[in-house]
Amino acid sequence: MPPMPTHPAPLLEARGITVRRPGRGRRAAPVTAVDGCSFTVRAGETLALVGASGSGKSSTAEAVLMLRRPDSGSVLFEGRDITDLSAEGMRALRPAMQPVFQDPFGALSPRMRVRDAIAEPIKVHKRWDPETGPDEVDSLLGRVGLAPELGGALPSDLSGGQCQRVGIARALALRPRLLVLDEPVSALDPSVRAGVVNLLTRLQEEQGLGYLFISHDFALVRRIAHRVAVLDAGRIVEEGPTAEVCRDPGHYRTRELLAASGLLAQRAGTAGAADAAGAADGALRGAR
């Protein structure tokens, strides 16, 4: 993890964002997926949003990327309110805030060679220069640790880790200032996951990128994030510097997540329901 930057301006700021989704079933009431969340991400900094499945992590990511407009609250990028930006305004802003998704294969078109896949976003945003473009693609390949020969490969020739590196190269192609990383390594095998984690750390160090890092895995977050916000049922239940939150978790959800990642030896919280008791017992036995 690069050292925490001293005092740059916030790159991203979420102010009380709320996202509602239609409920399951025909007459079901809408579900509040994100419930008044506020947080900031600074340049060179990683904020991790941590929570179990269904806690609202991915909805939060969609909202800050304006892939789904929040129902209330606002999102500021470099101090500017982007909540009500026109489609055209948003298009101009997209390159600066790029997503990296969980499924590395699903994000790539199966017939497109690696080199073309990396060039594609540059072309879509009309920044392609036939003179310098190919060199730019080569340098992106190098920056994400892919051998130049892999430029001609198809996604089906690549491992999961290599695909995710292509995904990261595509995101970097537009010279973003913020990456929104939605579980970027949780679909990868453990032995290749570490390499992608190291790559993300190095890129941040080199380029001062801000990361909003969505994850359910505290073991990973502890290594990669400067600050952490724990989500439960759409709300941030605990927030702080990662080391402090890991050392002295205040909320039972935080303890539960820490325990499940093997980072907490004590029994997690007071358990009420049978399910919670099961999880807490697991924490005890799962402690390594």
Partner: protein, 346 residues
């Protein structure tokens, strides 16, 4: 191991048809599971762990060529008739899928679904199947099973649904249960919960468990023994605590060191195994891990290593030509992954 094994796999090889020719998914694999024992089968994508489980359950992918032997409760699976395999599944051995929502139908009551599962594995009257379904729900710790059986899956909490799935898979009281973890990591809280439920199920029914997983952490603490696979072959096996505590094969050492919760240092880059797993269908002539192995030497390139006992350790096998040269701690093999040396293409 007490008593004769409930599962005995000998020199199993499974070859699958692939787009670019045959894929040698499992090669010369042997292992046993004792009565009531829990074995974790650890491996990454392409290691052959799921193919092994499916083959043993008589559910090998279409077009698979199988050789060697796998016996469940003394009954041979390889070459068995469809009817023989049906008789085996659900009664002697069963598979627990881990995605509760994908296997439960929303339009039938939980009790009806378990009763139907039971009737599919053995001849039982409706009323009898119904009674057994209630008993199965009780066995997995669902309170008031009589009432629960009349409810629909959406009326259950997530945890209760997982219990119901386990009840459904184990209604026929099998001696051997396979649990195959999804490739995409479950969130850790859910995963712990599922592992707890499996443990409980084992304590209640005495069934043996084979837990198929790509993540050794966590699985190790809940299992008696562990089998690590790579590219379809045995890498290392033994008591889980010993394999996790003192891995003896370079691959296991690298895999464990790369886990963020086990990394030797709290900061700096994680140790990384260089390179990528071999392309399925093109296994190297020698040890499959050779292109990525810091200890690789000449014999590794020509001969695949066979499982051999670890001197001074009971019930431990390691497949590595240089098992005597693995340093202490074994993670030191991969510790020098400095940022500048980050291996390309992993």
């Amino acid at each position: 191991m007490n008593g004769s094994p409930v599962l005995s796999v000998r020199d199993l090889a499974v070859t699958l048809p692939g787009r670019n020719g045959p894929v040698h998914a499992v090669r010369g694999l042997s292992f046993d599971v004792g009565p009531g024992e829990a074995l974790a089968v650890v491996g990454e994508s392409g290691a052959g762990k799921s193919v092994t489980a499916r083959t043993v359950l008589g559910m090998a992918p279409f077009g698979a060529r199988i050789s060697g032997s796998a016996t469940v409760g003394g009954q041979e699976v390889v070459g068995a008739s469809a009817a023989g395999l049906r008789a085996l599944r659900g009664r002697r051995a069963t598979l627990i899928p881990q995605d509760a929502l994908a296997v439960l139908s929303p339009v039938h009551t939980v009790g009806a679904q378990i009763a139907a599962a039971l009737r599919s594995v053995r001849r039982t009257g409706r009323a009898q199947a119904r009674r057994e379904a209630v008993a199965a729900l009780g066995r997995v710790g669902i309170p008031d099973p009589e009432r629960a059986a009349r409810r629909y899956p959406h009326e259950f909490s997530g945890g209760m649904r997982q219990r119901a799935v386990i009840a459904m898979a184990t209604a026929g009281e099998p001696d051997l249960v396979f649990a195959d973890e999804p490739t995409t990591a479950l969130d850790p809280v859910t995963r712990e919960h599922v592992l707890d439920l499996l443990q409980e199920m084992r304590e209640r029914t005495g069934a043996a468990l084979v837990l198929i997983t790509h993540d050794p952490a966590g699985a190790g603490a809940r299992t008696d023994r562990m089998l690590v696979m790579y590219a379809g072959r045995h890498v290392e096996s033994g008591p889980s605590a010993e394999v996790l505590g003192a891995p003896r094969a370079p691959y296991t050492a690298g895999l464990l060191a790369s886990l963020p919760e086990r990394a030797p240092s709290a900061t700096g880059p994680l140790p990384v195994i260089p390179g990528a797993p071999p392309v399925p269908g093109r296994p190297p002539a020698g040890c499959a891990f050779e292109p990525r192995c810091p200890l690789a030497s000449d014999p590794c390139r020509s001969d695949p290593p066979d499982p051999a006992p670890v001197p001074g350790a009971r019930d431990r096998l390691v497949s590595c030509h240089r098992r005597a040269d693995v340093p202490e701690p074994p993670s030191a093999l991969f510790a020098d992954a400095a940022p500048g040396r980050e291996p390309a293409g992993a």
